[in-house]
Amino acid sequence: MMNSVTRKAGFGAVTAFGVILIATNAGTVFAQGGLPEGFKKGELAAEPSAEMIEAGKRVYFTKCVWCHGVDGAGDGPGADRLWPRPRNFNQGTFKIRHTASGELPLFDAKKPVAGQNDLFETVTHGLPGSAMPPWEGILSEEQRLQVLSFVTTQLVKDRKFTDKQSESQTILNLAELKPKAASEESKKRGSELIVEKKCVECHGMEGRGDGNAFNLKDDWGFSIQPANWHKCWNFRGSRQDPYNVSNIFRTFSTGVNGTPMPSFADNTSVDERWDIANFVNSLCERDAEGKPLPIDPLSDKPKINFVIPSDPVEGEIPADIEHEAWQKAPKRYVAMGGQITHKPRNFVNRIDDIWVRSLYNDKHIVYLVEWDDRTKSVAEAKLPWAPTQVNIDIKEQEPKTGEEGSIASNQNKYAVYNDAIAIETAVKWKELPSPIKPRYLFGTNEQFPVDIVKWEADGSVRAFLGTGWDKDFVERDTYEENLKVLKGEWKNGRWYVMIQRPVGNKKDQDYDEDTFFEVGQYIPTVFFAWDGHNGDAGRKMAVSAFYYTFMNPPIPQETYIYPVVIAFGVVLLEGWILTRRANRKKGKTL
């Protein structure tokens, strides 16, 4: 009944924008007793026992205090270098809940039932994309309930989990709401609804979190960014099950307390919420066949393959991503971490992955690098140090600044530099035995240097030589004319950059300074990335581990011939055995 009302409202919305407001307002859906659709009334849980609280204190002061602080104000010693900052428990504001917007989350010290104990699940599964790890397997179930008993009674100070006067529980009845099948129709309706419900204003046209990314603040005044729907493994509420549409449905229904993300329970029907959740879920990165990416249970991120295959093409390498060759080329996930060996160290790393494809022909190899960056940054300020400088003596932010000076409160206030990407490959990698990689970040020494090609958002492309971990780079002006940027485009929160370089040959290039790319060999490759609005410049950047570029050789003819020859040999062998056996039985000897 309710569904049909809103469905009609939904159809009306598509035909005329003016109708929407009236229709959705008229169709504002309330189930019995003024509750939003899909919700039911719940009871406040009983207060945990004094023993639980006391035991929880011991857990808290062993494990949690380091980030969340002695008073639970989210101001522990680790807090100032984290973004997002650790939760301040005092106000009782918690993000991931089954309860209506503004209400306290579900917590019952006696009942670790899935879907009915929000805080327990947060501690169990952690909050991906933040520094909060999953504590399952580290703390026992009992210990997790104990520490939450301590937090909810002693550290939540402004509200009381058991106070019937001021608190209520309106619970999203997720267990009884069957997910709607993710049909094309449902996803299409979802894609219309996210425009209609203004989701795109913050989350961006493609859902990369690039909409109103800059001006958002949480309840404590710290900068905060809208979720990137393409990285579902970073959803705080993903509960280590990122492709599960129910998580998105829950977050959309209950909102994220303390942030600008509201609850949409009051102005969408359950059916509409499933459509939106299905659409958002469909945006998350998938493999070439459209299946969810395999997630590594140890890191809760996509599994990593360290080989970046490069496919051969005849003639010119196309500069158009839509070209068949690029569409067919395997796309690899490259994980990025903050560079924290050299000053200025990058504790808050905003580029946590890039996607790489590669093609080659007889003269060139092209890398297509794509990565999500909420802001296009082209330098407004002059870099305070030379681009070749590795050892920079710079005063870093103190780790004990308090909230005022912390990274979280100064995020988005940096001087803006260029977004950039660099590809580092080993020179003379052949002289290092196969799995051995050059030493450390910027090459081993003069004898085994690395070749660094860097593209910046102002369109420049430069080449450097790295000759050691703490040696300044050498700028290679003579090599730059060999490099070509086939594409450098920022669109809806994503960079698409195509860099072409020579594969190298003894005639035109220098074996001691250039990487020579050889077909069928593993060439150690590292990626660096900079987010200009994060203050990334110089060595403040994101780094990957060592990957391998592997140029797939065309399949040689022998591959087809030899197996046939071998199979034929086996047939002969079989014949011989059988004859021998038969003769033996007849009493003859061969």
Partner: protein, 345 residues
């Protein structure tokens, strides 16, 4: 005896179902968690359970009058072992290592089935039957094999020859040999004789017994001793410095080594190999405090030449921390994991 055997059969059947579930992705392979640090023992026990289960199963089958031929027992067990290695063990083992285990287990299975002349005959019998092809069924089988084997062999060799880009296997020196002494912030520390200046009792005297008595307890959660809270303001000596070390750890180290010192920090997923896991009994628990002092101060760049393949991006912390801070961090790491540093005597 029979009751025991039927229990074994139950275990075997359930175990097989579980493994089959894992192979077909019905049961997630982390249903029974492999606990870090205890994984080898856990796997041995698991395999032992399976073996007991199989004994029970085959006993029950023959008791029910459907004995399993020795031929299939041998092949079945070997297959089981290979599947177990491939689908149960996480993180996955590279193929080359699995091939090694496969060969060894094949030899073991051969030794088992050829333990006596009679056993060996029993094993050979089905092969001979097919070769001789006395019955119609066996004749069919023989022709089937005649066609299938060349196709399979051809297919495998094609597969082996098609150019592939599998990740090369990387080995790593876990604990490279330390130098005799190390120079940090202009002062030389002899690894054999140096001592942590903060492993002291409330009176300020170096006191290993006192500090060992105040580390966190082993066991689930590794919680602090009830009366040894480093956050107690009245602390003097060891526990006070543990807290200071913890502050430094959570401002510098946890990004890689993780909130629980298990090498699963915020940035850890991007590195290969992932950062060291201090809760593993194979890392700091095996080393002297001064060894850690050297590694922390000099970082990945300070690894000796034989520390191939140089896969560490650990910063030389002497560039970011003072000597005192480094000692305190080490103190905290031992406290938080509940391990004692190894001593020279």
């Amino acid at each position: 005896m029979k009751a025991l055997m039927s229990l074994g059969a139950l275990v075997g059947a359930m175990g097989l179902l579980l493994l089959a579930g894992m192979i077909f992705d019905v049961v997630p392979s982390n249903t029974v968690r492999l606990v870090e640090g205890y994984m080898p023992m856990q796997m041995l026990i698991e395999v032992a359970c399976y073996v007991a289960g199989f004994t029970g199963l085959s006993f029950m089958l023959s008791a029910m009058g459907m004995p399993m031929p020795r031929f299939w027992q041998g092949i079945g067990f070997w297959l089981f072992f290979m599947l177990y290695l491939k689908f149960r063990v996480y993180p996955p083992i590279p193929f080359s290592v699995r091939a090694m285990y496969g060969t060894v287990s094949m030899v073991a299975v051969f030794m088992w089935i050829s333990a006596s002349e009679e056993d060996w005959k029993k094993f050979k019998q089905p092969i001979m039957n097919v070769l001789d092809a006395q019955t119609g069924m066996n004749k069919m089988m023989r022709y089937l094999y005649l066609v299938l084997i060349p196709i399979l062999v051809g297919g495998f060799s094609y597969n082996a020859m098609v150019p592939k880009s599998e990740e090369p296997v990387e080995l790593r020196t876990v604990h490279p040999a330390p130098p005799a002494s190390t120079k940090v912030h202009g002062k030389t520390y002899v690894l054999q004789t140096s001592q942590s200046p903060y492993r002291v009792n409330p009176e300020g005297k170096y006191d290993q017994e006192y500090s060992n008595a105040n580390i966190v307890e082993q066991g689930m959660g590794r919680l602090m001793k009830p009366n040894a809270n480093p956050w107690d303001d009245k602390n003097q000596g060891y526990l006070k410095y543990v807290r200071e070390g913890g502050e430094i750890f959570f401002q510098n180290c946890h990004f890689c080594h993780g909130d629980n010192l298990n090498g699963r920090g915020l940035h850890a997923f991007a590195f290969n190999p992932i950062p060291a896991n201090f809760t593993d009994p194979g890392t700091i628990a095996q080393l002297q405090e001064t060894f850690i002092f050297w590694r922390v101060s000099k970082g990945g760049i300070g690894l000796p030449n034989e520390g191939f393949p140089w896969a560490s991006v650990m910063p030389p912390w002497e560039q970011h921390l003072t000597v005192d801070e480094i000692w305190k961090v080490i103190l905290f790491e031992y406290w938080h994991t509940g391990y004692y540093p190894r001593t020279w005597d």
